[in-house]
Symmetry: C2
Subunit: 136 residues, 2 copies
DNA sequence: TTTTAAATAATAATGATTACGATTTACACA
DNA sequence: TGTGTAAATCGTAATCATTATTATTTAAAA
């Protein structure tokens, strides 16, 4: 997903176009990777020295709600990335050095079969961690 | 794994048998589920009013190190459970109501094939969340 | 029993996240 | 193009999980 599409999606959901939101999105668009709130704060403060964590967190969660972003928990901190958009449900390999991600198309839920008869599945998490080709 | 085996394993690794450690283990042994540090603190303080978080965390991480416990991150908090012990590598279904878990024997890494050619895999996480039969 | 390193207790510090009242801003509409 | 208003942001403080520190206590080896 790109910044323009994301802003469009914000408008569709009744949210305003602010320069802070656009800047947050442009930071997320720089790399296919998960960002922590503090990473985004640090970068955005070059342009908007007065943004607070409130603004960062409020918008990250908002954009995750309307499926502009994907969220996950890494090392005890929430991380966010632009949704891949082009394809549907998928998972990620995450490089523990540079943070870049690679989409994994196979989903383990497809193979589960009878393992969970009687269980009502609501959600799942599958992530692979390691070194990408550039870092290994 | 049971409490006796766990204490045995602590000794094998050169760690002492303390009543706090035994009590922590007995709490973890009550249910096949992941516990947060504060859950364990709350229960243990009935017997040992003076235990501090330091003791809880130090021992949980220690016991995870020697593979007595399994650890995972749920809702932004570290959680721990007794290792299943009986079988090797596996994953869990986790009930979002009662917290009980069910082991899943299939591991998605087996099916990955060529998806990660050139990537150096170090770790992975696969968890399924939902309602167990009793809660659904 | 004595000794001593390991473990615990009590408390403070840190760091991520959330909360909140005051101020500013996007934008619908005149 | 102005104006009103709800939404968004700012500045700052509070909260909560986790980690650190130092003094005291304890398990267990000799």
């Amino acid at each position: 997903m790109n910044v323009k599409t994301a802003i469009q999606k914000l408008k569709e959901n009744g949210y305003k176009h602010t320069k802070q939101r656009e800047r947050i999105l442009s930071i997320l668009a720089e790399q296919e990777q998960y960002f922590a709130a503090k990473d985004i704060l640090k970068e955005i403060q070059a342009d908007f020295p007065s943004v607070s964590y409130d603004t960062i967190y409020r918008n990250l969660y908002l954009m995750a709600d309307v499926e502009i972003l994907e969220a996950t928990e890494l090392d005890g901190e929430k991380h966010f990335r632009l949704g891949c958009g082009t394809h549907g449900h998928h998972h990620h390999f995450i490089c523990t050095d540079c943070g870049k991600t690679k989409s994994i198309e196979t989903c383990p839920m497809d193979e589960l079969g009878e393992d969970l008869r009687g269980y009502q599945v609501e959600n799942h998490k599958f992530e692979i961690y390691g070194k990408c080709p550039a870092c290994s």
